[in-house]
Symmetry: C2
Subunit: 288 residues, 2 copies
Amino acid sequence: MEAARLGAAGAAGLHKAFCPKAARELVGNVDAFLFDCDGGSSDLVWSGVIWKGEKLIEGVTKALQALRSMGKKVGFVTNNSTKSRKQYVEKFRGLGISVHEDEIYPSSFGAAMYLKVNNFPQDKKVYAIGGDGILEEMSFAGYTCLGVTKDANKKMELKRGFKFEHDKSVGAVVVGLDPYINYYKIQYATMCIRENPGCLFIATDRDAVGPLTDVQEWPGTGSMVGAICGSTQKEPIIVGKPATFMMEFLLKRFNMSTSRMCMVGDSFPDVLFGQNSGCKTILVLSGV
Amino acid sequence: MEAARLGAAGAAGLHKAFCPKAARELVGNVDAFLFDCDGGSSDLVWSGVIWKGEKLIEGVTKALQALRSMGKKVGFVTNNSTKSRKQYVEKFRGLGISVHEDEIYPSSFGAAMYLKVNNFPQDKKVYAIGGDGILEEMSFAGYTCLGVTKDANKKMELKRGFKFEHDKSVGAVVVGLDPYINYYKIQYATMCIRENPGCLFIATDRDAVGPLTDVQEWPGTGSMVGAICGSTQKEPIIVGKPATFMMEFLLKRFNMSTSRMCMVGDSFPDVLFGQNSGCKTILVLSGV
């Protein structure tokens, strides 16, 4: 475990890190670099290591080119579950960076992979609180996903005799960042977890802050997860940072040991994510 | 501490408890009986010790008359924050029971009394997630209360540059059961707690279940509180059962020691509430 702190902001700082001798040594000892690229939904705000606001952080393109030319693998790991990998590729393209879908690891994808890795049956459904990124990743993985934006405007008339029905074939509830959280969704998720035998409760992450606009902080996935914990009195399986699921998944995919990986992030959860898994970490000082 | 378990349902069982010799002894040693009367919002469902559905539990009127004729004090303590004491008096009247406002202790009133007891300044405002019971009790106590049903349909356009404004004079956030919970309310409460120096975070209770209709269980205040804990990473002050604030308040009001009080409830939180305070407890088996 080795945490390097770069004084300059974002990937500009990261790029500088490749110049000094110490940084060259680090690069020499690492085969894969994982980058945080935390950003918000709705194409609004992106802050952190790769972009900030709508702008690419200076030096990012050069740094990525340099790493690739040295034969290093790169991966982008984010707790933002509102987008799918496909949507991220578009986002990168819009900023002039060419990345492959297989290099992007948002927690929406993480949730789908958690189900895959654990042989979640294809005939079971997923109920999701969150954005369409989760819906897309679940569909790519072959799962039927209920909820998400389809339930954004659902209301109920809470009168005597009213019975709330839920799908008994839901075998997993996935909770991600959802600015359209409502009581209908909370009740749906709660009933699946309470009443469907063996139903999984998965959180994409538990971040307190969700970067939805560029002006201020917004309640993060931690709010949606807290609401479901409060009614079910259960704790979720977390697939995003700083939990280690994504790192374990990446190690298998990259066929690599942790000592040859380095996580570059702008927040303590990023550093924890790296350190929890025993890989090298770099903290850039542009973020949370 | 002494927990009596009554086999028969609700207050019918309670009434029976006053017949055997052991029960007479209990009554002889107790000067005040506190009853749970858990019920739902919107005049929908009431279950537990005093009523169940829309019906008074058999024997309740007789039992209350018997206690009053023996000079015992009675109090009704509920975690249901959706109604005020005034609204409860009406509810009791509709069921043919005459009670005084001063005998009713819903957690909406508890939250207002918590502020009073702690000298919360009158020029500070309260932001509440919950029903109009909280609004009414705050108004009776002389406080300005924002939020509640007024924010039920609030929406935001989360576009670039949008800035969410909140009242800097809010000095306390109160969270109760709210079937109209939304992201606007979560953001409002979160910003007050995060940005207003010294802002209190008060929960009426943290119950997992809210008895909103008579057919099934619904997410309780625990959901709304969990959402705010998730975004603020703070823990609330809890005024409802099983926390001891209401008991301490009642002991002062009744000018009585705990050993002369007995809590009659239909749930373990009720029993805990009694036992946490060191008073006698009776669990009736009609409830949660």
